[in-house]
């Protein structure tokens, strides 16, 4: 393996640093940040690049789209029921005359928000448990047994049970939309942190034996700071990869629950809920089921490609080539 500074010398931005270093200085390539390298590698993966654009496009579409679209997702219009695609309603209308285009955007907001927040929660839990188990030997056994136990839980039945049990009390406590949102995010978060925890623990265990950690410890750095300053930056790459893939899993899980009729109530459309509502009219109005399904699939597909590309880009063994 060559020195990374030398190996990246083929880029055009090689500058001399002589004005700082005195007469004997030689031309050295400009120090490139690690993220620059990662981006360069990521760019070579076409699928990942397209995936990133599609994903950002959909994010923008659901985030700022509703501001530009005049129709309200919950506004009924009995004169325009069950319409097909037209300029006024690009995705048609449903049986109450609500505009599907607006509903897909509104649903996307909820689905994406659930996906992002649930991913953050699961990432937080996974990293916390992984770091604790890897760094503190006493906690390793119990925490890993806990992880194994969670891995053996029947996730889908358990999620369904959680939703059925806590839907009413949480809706009563926080209001319907926030209550279900909190429930979904928590339920998905606490049932999906295990993979992250395992990966992080493995990496922390390996890092702990490295010299720089020994050095940090020998100058008296407290464990808290060793973890935040030395461990976490070094386990960032696996965390980022599982973060991307986590969004996809969370969106699929939320949609699955909504599709089984156990997610958000009908007034708050999510992609899964829209699909669930459309299935009853599949014979007569098939396109109404296709739009939300297509959005879910596109998001998940693009995220999977981004995750694939990130995995390659963040792996220094591949990046050097």
């Amino acid at each position: 393996m060559t020195d990374p500074v030398v190996s990246s010398g083929n880029d055009p931005q090689t500058v001399t640093a002589s004005h700082q270093m005195g007469p004997e200085a030689v031309a050295v390539p400009a120090a490139r940040s690690q993220w620059r390298d990662v981006w360069d590698q990521f760019r070579t993966h076409k699928g990942a690049l397209i995936g990133a654009f599609v994903f950002l496009g959909i994010c923008l579409f659901v985030a700022i789209g509703p501001w530009f679209w005049p129709l309200d997702p919950t506004e009924t219009n009995m004169r325009a029921r069950n319409e097909g695609m037209s300029w006024a309603h690009p995705m048609g209308t449903d049986r109450l005359g609500r505009d599907t285009f607006a509903r897909v955007m509104a649903g996307g907001r909820i689905s994406m928000a659930v996906g992002l927040v649930a991913m953050l929660l699961s990432l937080f839990l996974g990293t916390l448990i992984g770091v604790l188990a890897g760094y503190f030997k006493r906690l390793d056994g119990p925490l890993m047994r806990l992880t194994d136990m969670f891995l053996a839980l029947p996730i889908l039945p358990l999620l369904l049970v959680l939703v059925v049990l806590f839907r009413e009390p949480l809706s009563a406590a926080f209001g319907i939309e926030t209550g279900i949102f909190v429930l979904m995010v928590t339920a998905i978060g606490i049932t999906s942190w295990m993979q992250t925890a395992r990966i992080v623990r493995g990496d922390v265990l390996a890092l702990k034996e490295r010299e720089f950690i020994l050095a940090a410890r020998s100058i008296g750095t407290p464990p808290r700071r060793i973890i935040t300053r030395h461990m976490l930056p070094n386990v960032l790459s696996p965390i980022m990869v599982s973060a991307t893939l986590g969004i996809a899993t969370a969106i699929i899980t939320e949609s699955t629950l909504s599709f089984l009729g156990l997610g958000f109530p009908p007034d708050f459309p999510t992609w899964g809920r829209l699909l669930f509502d459309a299935v009853s009219f599949l014979q007569s109005y098939p396109m109404r089921a296709v739009w939300p399904g297509l959005m879910i699939s596109l998001v998940v597909l693009s995220i999977n490609y981004v995750g694939d590309g990130l995995r390659d880009a963040l792996d220094p063994r591949i990046r050097g080539r």
Partner: protein, 335 residues
């Protein structure tokens, strides 16, 4: 190997115990009283007797132990009685469903064949498709076939089963009208026509379930074959003049199947939870649909038992995967 198996089994016991406890006490929090739809005219002492008959008189922790006893002792005894005509379990209280007031396991026994047929067929189909695809895409890495295969597998595991299910219904039932949308479980297969009807109604659910598993498995197979193709023994086999087909289909295939076999064992629970969704779409009345209807009807004994069966499935398939790996690969030793 034996000690390892025993150790794993020993660890499986507390795991399953905790899972059973977690599900049970979670369901304890639930509202929903099985007596709720009993008319108010029923006197309260009769009502109390009905509660006792469902095994509800005791505090929660005692009912939990009772449930464990019912699940692990009384229900197997009933099975023995059923097989050999004995009367070991007579008079013992079985796990009673709140929905239809009959033993939970009778309903499950009615429903499980449908699930097993669909799940089993799709797993078989998935394996039969995935392995050749995996081998060929690895053998011709970066070829057009490989690129297309990678793209399709990516789509295969990105499209969630509830959308792929709806999508194949749209294409094959609504537009083409080839297959029925609804799985008719009352169909009795006794002649060629009814057999063909059975095949036609199974194609769509099997297609949806198999798509996901195929894409996962073929990725694994491809990676595993790629690993093996660079090994020295492949070069040796070629150098001694074996025909290419023999090198790939005998030497490489056998070695690269090792990790894939364990993955196949590991995915059994996943395909069962996938079946929960496909059964809902195609109206197959298997155990997945049973779970959903039980949840909607607040039938907690049924939910508890079904979820626990899923947990057992996960623990057992993990164990089988680990043991299989040790048996198949002589380099792996667990002691």
């Amino acid at each position: 190997m034996l000690t390892y198996t025993l150790r794993r089994l020993m660890f499986a016991v507390p795991t399953l115990f905790f899972i059973a406890a977690a599900i049970f006490f979670l369901l304890e929090l639930a509202p929903g009283d099985p007596m709720a739809n009993v008319p108010l005219t029923v006197p309260s002492e009769v009502r109390e007797q009905m509660r006792q008959a469902l095994g509800l008189g005791e505090p929660a922790h005692i009912r939990f132990v009772l449930w464990l006893k019912q699940f692990f002792w009384i229900e197997p005894l009933n099975l023995v009685d059923h097989w050999f005509g004995t009367t070991f379990a007579e008079g013992e209280l079985r796990i009673i469903s709140w929905q239809n007031r009959s033993p939970v396991f009778l309903t499950i026994a009615e429903r499980i064949p449908q699930t097993l047929w669909v799940v089993g067929t799709s797993y078989l189909v998935a394996i039969l498709i995935a392995i050749p695809i995996g081998i060929y895409s690895a053998y011709r890495q970066y070829s057009l076939f490989d690129q297309a295969g990678t793209f399709i597998t990516m789509i295969g595991f990105s499209v969630p089963p509830f959308f792929s299910g709806v999508f194949v219904i749209l294409i094959f039932s609504v537009y083409l009208g080839w297959f029925p949308t609804i799985y008719d479980t009352r169909l009795v297969v006794n002649d060629w026509d009814s057999f063909m009807q059975q095949v036609r109604q199974m194609i769509l659910p099997v297609m949806v379930l198999a798509l996901q598993i195929t894409s996962q498995l073929s990725r694994f197979m491809r990676a595993s074959v790629l690993d093996n193709l660079n090994q020295d023994y492949v070069r040796t086999a070629r150098a001694k003049g074996l025909v290419e087909r023999r090198v790939i289909l005998v030497h490489v295939l056998r070695n690269s199947l090792l990790p894939v076999v364990t993955v196949i064992a590991l995915y059994v629970p996943a395909i069962f939870s996938g079946a929960i969704i496909t059964e809902q779409i195609f109206k197959v009345n298997g155990i997945g649909q049973l779970l959903i209807t039980a949840l909607q009807a607040n039938d907690w004994p049924m939910v508890q038992t079904l979820s626990f069966i899923f947990a057992v499935l996960i623990v057992v398939s993990n164990l089988v995967a680990d043991l299989l790996y040790g048996i198949l690969d002589p380099r792996i030793r667990y002691d």
